[in-house]
């Protein structure tokens, strides 16, 4: 080949490339570059190869159609492309190009022996640099174009209107949504046109003054951004734009980016929500005022009504203790009964209102399950006795003995249910059964109480009415049986407050069961004020007991109870079968019920004693002691128990009889301090000296009571917080808190009618001391040493008043 001036050719090549840098047509750039390269390289052919991926290589441009038509070797080419030197192989040069995302190279077929010419190689290196530059440029244009296309798509797709205006006021751009809003063409727009359009738009807004104010504040500070600028259109509002504007800098261009978002739905929803909130706030304020008014009313009415009612009932009670003729007594009784009914109705209504208004709060104090049932029965025993109904209960052994809860409210529920049971039952029994329905992971028991009667029953289609307020199953029963129709409604609400619910099961003519559940924790720290002897079951273990009672439920209870104490019990509902068994089986004890068909308990006792004189007998009777007609039978029984029967008492009686610690039955030569009108009383002894505690406690037990003990005035107050007492024997001088101080606190805390009778026990019998205790507010006094008769006299003096007052007080619960 003639001498080629490679340096000149290299320069010419580069000069030839230069104009291409302004070309925007990528394909033309590549084609022209390749043509220049062939010309100045004096080559046969050249091809631009791009590696698409690791396994694909494509010829993008070839100067000759026939050049490089055989399959390429992507792997080899990739290795070459990633290298940094020109490759000479198989008579061809490969100039690798790896620039700005382009991976590939140029394959060159040189002429003749140019490959050996050093000048040619120098040319190739210069050309290679130029080609790489061009590729880089083309790639950049390509990337920019791609980005431009992508952002254009995004800007056209988003729902917002986007506007850009440069600071210099030369360029402006808006997407199609912004163009629609501003009624302009999308794309490039002169900034003046855009500004004018925005101004027009602002002037159409109904809140243009606010917009102007906000705008003025915004534009007064350069470089500020604004967000959530509301432009509201129409009355009523049909469009709301949320406008934001931020400074923007891109390369050397500074400007502002405006974004218009259609906020119509959100704005209208917010307006509506605000209106609703304002309305709710008004209603809440009104409800609060009404609630407060209701609470104030409740509190006032409770006091205003109860105060005169207590006065009426208290005065009636005092009146009944004065000298009255028969007619006057009858009138006073009617006033008393009417007053008590009125108090009961008022209490129901006030209680119901309190619960409905959410003002009822429950206590959480420990109490014994047996206690709440026994107290309920104590209160209602007179009514039950009048109808000859048995009051029975059984607490399953797996029920915790002492639980934490509100004894007052639980008692209220039981009183209501038992009272209803007595009301609607002519004969038979009321039976309370308590079972443990389970213990959850938090240590909370679900206890189920069922109150079952043997009364009228309730038709199933009336169940739904039972727990509705002011509803009676049969309105005619209101006239016959009385009642506000609130009792069961209150029970339901109280039980729900205690975490449970209540239901009824009933069979017409057979009776009904009211079943409710409560959730409670067991009290692990058992405190007892009563000096109970620890149960010594060895005394009873293996002993055989015979039980005769026509009440099968009672038989079941007694049998279970005796078996729990380790005894063997055989039960019979008639004396004939029992006598047959007696012939072949020996027993340690026989328990008889007083009221039985054919022969009563005394007659059966006489029959048994006639044949088995050494078998101790225990009688359960509904009246206190034996009636006068049976006086000659004293001595027949080792013990006589009054109903309702308390399990602890049965235990003590059986234990005493079996261990032969029998008290001598009263004979006609000894004073009989047992009263036939035995009304169950809750008595507390507040006394610090053990001798005095023992004497008073035992004396009361002989009289048929089971007092609680407190060692000082403070303990007495604590005991009163847990249990309602009818009477307290209060020693005057005690450590920690004396009787006078305790009395003062009791008077301050408990209104008349809801506090116990306080009898001072004093070792000083002087009149000054008597005056001191009475002036302190105590009701009576008894001087030490006192005899059992003295105590009995005091109880007889106060018990009628206590019962009347506390029946009303209990009804207030």
């Amino acid at each position: 080949m003639e001498n080629i001036n490679w340096t000149r050719d290299a320069l010419d090549f580069l000069l030839g490339l230069h104009p291409l840098k302004k070309d925007k047509d990528f394909a033309h750039i590549y084609a022209r570059s390749m043509e220049l390269f062939i010309k100045y390289a004096h080559a046969h052919a050249a091809a631009l190869i791009r590696l698409e991926d690791k396994v694909t290589a494509k010829v993008w441009y070839r100067t000759e159609e026939s050049f490089l038509t055989s399959p390429l070797q992507p792997e080899k080419l990739r290795t070459w492309a990633l290298g940094d030197r020109i490759i000479w192989e198989d008579g061809m040069f490969f100039l690798p190009i790896y620039e700005n995302g382009f991976c590939g190279g140029i394959q060159l077929l040189p002429k003749g022996t140019l490959a050996e010419d050093p000048g040619f190689l120098g040319f190739l290196n210069v050309a290679w640099t130029g080609l790489k530059e061009v590729t880089y440029l083309v790639q950049s244009y390509y990337i920019i174009d791609e980005l431009k296309a992508r952002f254009n798509t995004i800007l056209e797709t988003i729902p917002q209107g986007v506007v850009f205006i440069d600071e210099a006021g030369k360029n402006g751009w808006l997407n199609s949504n912004a163009a629609r809003i501003l009624t302009l063409e999308s794309g490039e727009n002169h900034p003046t046109a855009i500004s004018t359009a925005m101004q027009s738009l602002r002037n159409m807004a109904v809140n243009k003054e606010d917009i102007a104010k906000e705008g003025a504040r915004f534009f007064s500070t350069p470089g500020q951004s604004i967000r959530g600028w509301k432009w509201i259109f129409g009355d009523p509002v049909h469009t709301v734009l949320s406008v934001s504007c931020s400074p923007l800098q891109s390369a050397q261009t500074k400007g502002r980016l405006w974004v218009f978002t259609d906020d119509t739905f959100h704005h209208l929803a917010t307006v509506q929500l605000n209106e609703l909130n304002a309305e709710l706030e008004e209603k809440r304020k009104l409800a609060d005022e009404q609630n407060k008014a209701k609470s104030d009313f409740l509190a006032n009415m409770s006091h205003e009504i109860r105060t005169p009612m207590n006065g009426v009932i208290g005065m009636t009670s005092l009146l009944s203790h004065t000298k009255l003729d028969e007619e006057q007594k009858e009138y006073v009784d009617i006033i008393r009964i009417s007053g008590e009914s009125l108090v009961s109705i008022i209490n129901d209504i006030l209680d119901f209102s309190k619960i409905e208004s959410g003002k009822m709060e429950l206590e959480e104090l420990p109490f014994f399950v047996n206690t709440v049932i026994e107290e309920t029965y104590d209160l209602l025993s007179v009514k039950a006795n009048e109808k000859g109904l048995d009051l029975l209960y059984f607490v399953e052994p797996d029920v915790p003995a002492e639980i934490n809860g509100d004894i007052t409210r639980l008692r209220q529920v039981l009183i209501n249910l038992v009272s209803n049971g007595i009301k609607f039952t002519s004969n038979g029994e009321i039976f309370i059964h308590v079972i443990n329905k389970g213990l959850d992971a938090e240590g909370e028991y679900t206890l189920e109480f069922s109150v079952k009667d043997t009364g009228l029953g309730i038709p199933e289609n009336k169940f739904y009415k039972l727990f509705e307020s002011f509803s009676q199953v049969d309105s005619s029963t209101t006239r016959k049986f009385g009642g506000t129709g609130l009792g069961l409604a209150i029970c339901q609400r109280l039980v729900r407050l205690m975490g449970g619910d209540i239901r009824v099961e009933s069979t017409l003519g057979q009776g009904s069961s009211f079943i409710f559940q409560v959730k409670v924790h067991a009290n692990r720290k058992i405190k007892q004020f009563e000096p109970k002897a620890s149960p010594d079951l060895e005394d009873l273990k293996g002993k055989r007991v015979l039980v005769i009672d026509d009440n099968t439920t009672n038989l079941r209870i007694l049998k279970s109870q005796c078996e729990m104490w380790g005894m063997e019990a055989q039960v019979f509902n008639n004396y004939a079968d029992a006598l047959k068994v007696l012939k072949s089986t020996s027993f340690d004890l026989a328990i008889l019920d007083m009221v039985m068909p054919d022969k009563d308990g005394v007659e059966v006792g006489q029959l048994i004693k006639g044949t088995y004189p050494h078998l101790p007998l225990v009688l359960f009777t509904s009246s206190g002691g034996l009636s006068r007609s049976h006086a000659n039978t004293t001595g027949l029984f080792a013990a006589v128990q009054n109903k309702p029967i308390k399990h602890a008492q049965i235990y003590r009686t059986i234990q005493e009889v079996l261990t032969k610690r029998v008290k001598a039955a009263p004979t006609s030569t000894e004073p009989d301090v047992r009263k036939t009108d035995h009304i169950p009383l809750h008595i507390l002894i507040a006394e610090d000296i053990p001798i005095n505690q023992k004497l008073l406690s035992r004396s009361l037990q002989k009289l048929g009571y089971t007092p609680d003990l407190a060692n000082n005035g403070r303990e007495a107050l604590n005991a009163m917080a847990r249990k309602q007492y009818h009477l307290i024997f209060m020693d005057v001088m005690m450590p920690e808190m004396d009787g006078l101080e305790a009395t003062r606190i009791i008077l301050d805390t408990y209104p008349r009618g809801q506090r116990p009778i306080i009898i001072a026990t004093t070792a000083n019998a002087l009149s000054d001391d008597r005056d001191i205790v009475l002036a302190a507010g105590m009701d009576d006094y008894i001087s030490k040493p006192y005899k059992i008769q003295d105590i009995a006299d005091k109880l007889e003096k106060w018990q009628r008043q206590i019962f009347e007052t506390h029946e009303n007080g209990m009804a207030e619960l």
Partner: protein, 123 residues
């Protein structure tokens, strides 16, 4: 009910029998409590007199007086009544040590009799 008791000089079984309504078991319990409480009360009295704590003297004397009356120990009860009254009157407090001395004289024979009675009850 008539029961026969030994003759005692320092207390009266009839009183406790009456109060306990002939319950011999209760009588025994009360006597036992009395025997237990005597040294405790005496100790408290001694300490209160040493510290000249007159309200405590009055308190303990009052308590022991009551217990004494339950078993018919009138001589002891009377002494304690005097002590109680003196403790309440600043001009009489100087008599208290004398009363205490007499209490210490009365109690041993009383305790001897009461212990014997306890044995009779629990035979």
């Amino acid at each position: 009910m008539k029961m026969e008791w030994p003759n005692y000089k320092h207390f009266s079984p009839i009183v406790i029998q009456d109060i306990a309504a002939d319950d011999t078991e209760l009588m025994a319990e009360v006597i036992k409590e009395f025997i237990k409480c005597i040294p405790i009360y005496l100790g408290e009295l001694d300490a209160a007199i040493r510290e000249q704590d007159f309200s405590q003297i009055k308190f303990v004397a009052h308590k022991l007086k009551g217990s004494s009356r339950f078993i018919g120990a009138e001589a002891l009860a009377s002494l304690l009544q005097q002590m109680e009254i003196s403790a309440d009157q600043p001009t009489e407090v100087h008599n208290i040590p004398g009363y205490l001395a007499q209490v210490h004289l009365v109690i041993p024979p009383l305790l001897e009799e009461v212990n014997e009675f306890y044995g009779v009850l629990t035979r």
